[in-house]
Amino acid sequence: MTSVLTGTAVDVKNLSVRFRSKRSSTTALDDVTMRVEAGEFISIVGPSGCGKSTLLKVVAGLVKPSDGQVSLFGDEVKGAQRNIGFAFQRAALLEWRGVRKNILLQAEIRGIDKAKAARRADELIELTGLAGFEKALPHELSGGMQQRVALCRALLHEPPVLLMDEPFGALDALTREQLNAELNKIWRETGTTILLVTHSIAEAVFLGTRVEVMSPRPGRLMRTLPVDLPRERDYAQVMTDPRFGSLTREIRQLLGAHESH
């Protein structure tokens, strides 16, 4: 794939983010340092409100760092980044557009060649099992299918980095597993570097090559856990793998230890 770059994809150095309101100032992220090599899949877990989403938004250039800096492929992030794909917790689709046109929004705004974008959209529709629903409007789709559309849209321009902010959080367990398997496949086939924020420990381990565990606010990186599993993953196999069991246990303990006090 042409868009795959090598080297360090995301470089976060001593990043702190503080939000100031009129009276108070809250620290969302405190001195976070993280390096992501191209092709990695980083899962970020942590309790609610620990700044996971903020971290993604800083990488995307949607939130300014208060301290420290973030670079994408060596270039410092200043303002909204174009060479990324972003998938949100809610699908955030345009209600008035059908599936295919929602996906093609990405191409229209970026001015990608129409024929090329159409081909790519068809590939993604096929890959995510949306074939036959090209013209369906978002309200006619299930939650899982809406997220598939959002995923296709985030991938249309073949971004070297894909940022995902709890994209499957609102789905039922079965649909979620299915989409996890699809995401694993997409990641392997495209070689995209992925940063996934999630609440689900199982999802984090199943998908990630590395899991970053964050502490409650102010968000710090508590522990980095490499996931020593093959890149191609099958749900049933991974679930029964002893390494999966010990990793999820360890993460649960790390998060639980912080929640108990």
Binding site: M1, K57, A60, G61, L62, A80, Q81, R82, I84, G85, F86, F88, R90, A92, L94, E95, W96, L105, Q106, E108, I109, R110, E123, E126, L127, G129, A131, G132, F133, K135, A136, L137, H139, E140, L141, M145, E189, T190
Partner: protein, 289 residues
């Protein structure tokens, strides 16, 4: 990326949401139309019969309330002049409404995009709204003469406010995640407006337009009351002066018909522009889920 062709060749793709609920056969459509119309039609018929009985029985003097027959005879007698006056009022209303829509939308965009402009414009818009239009109608006629201009201006003044308010509400209701998304796509302000914010604002805006179009009729007629030599408002004043109740009623009915006609046109326009919106979907109970 490589994609296998095997699923594409599959003759029976999954079908649940395949055929969206938009395609409806003529029979169902007719049934639905009947269903939508019969209740108000029945009520209207009831009122009409009551009117007929009360006036035909002579319970109310016919110089106060004429019988339907008298109104009908007067209407056919003066048909061409009534049509001319209707045309004048319709013209003033439509021009006023269109101007109000354009100016209102422009103002709404300015307010939604700029805090400074919001602080400058909103108080003035509000001030213009709270002045009773009927009170300033004579002044406007003095300023702009007996022509069409003052009627159009009054229609604009009265129809402008709902367009601004609904436009601002619509433009502000954009999902913040969609705006972040468009930022990561590198969208220009214009692209974000055209592809995201404006279509998203349409349901709100159309609700305002529906209010505006009925108000525009009021504006035009008020203008005609104050100083005119043509139009249904003028006709009504003449009829009133001559104690010509049948003509007065004829003018009144025609005014209402203009209002209803324009409202229906805006409704149809809305159905064409935002078939996807929840407010439109709920009107089609065929959806089973």
């Amino acid at each position: 990326m490589t994609v296998t062709n095997e699923t594409r060749a599959d003759p029976a793709p999954p079908t649940p949401a395949r055929e969206p609920v938009r395609r409806i056969d003529i029979g169902t459509r007719l049934l639905r139309l009947v269903d939508a119309i019969w209740r108000p039609a029945a009520l209207l018929a009831l009122i009409f019969v009551a009117w007929w009985v009360i006036t035909a029985q002579g319970w109310v003097a016919d110089y106060l309330v004429p019988t339907p027959v008298q109104v009908w005879e007067r209407t056919t007698q003066d048909w061409s002049s009534l049509m001319y006056h209707s045309y004048v009022t319709l013209y003033e209303t439509v021009v006023g409404f269109l101007l109000a829509s354009v100016l209102g939308l422009a103002t709404a965009v300015a307010i939604a995009y700029s805090r400074t402009l919001e602080r400058t414009l909103y108080p003035i818009v509000l001030f213009a709204q709270v002045i009773p239009k009927i009170a300033i109608a004579p002044l406007i006629v003095v300023w702009f003469g007996n022509d069409l201009a003052p009627k159009i201006i009054l229609a604009v003044l009265i129809a402008f406010f709902p367009v601004v308010v609904s436009g601002v509400a619509g433009l502000r209701s954009t999902d913040p995640e969609l705006l972040e998304l468009s930022a990561t796509m590198g969208a220009s302000r214009w692209q974000t407006f055209r592809k995201i914010r404006f279509p998203n604002a349409l349901p709100h805006l159309m609700a305002g337009e529906k209010v505006a179009v009925t108000l525009a009729v009021v504006g035009a007629v008020v203008g005609e009351f104050v100083g005119a030599s043509e139009g249904l408002g003028y006709q009504l004043m003449i009829a009133n002066g001559n104690l010509d109740a049948p003509l007065l009623f004829a003018a009144l009915i025609l005014m209402s018909l203009i209002g209803i006609l324009l409202f229906v046109i805006v409704e149809v326009l809305e159905a064409l522009l935002i078939p996807w919106h929840a407010s439109r979907r709920s009107a089609t109970p065929l959806t089973t889920s």
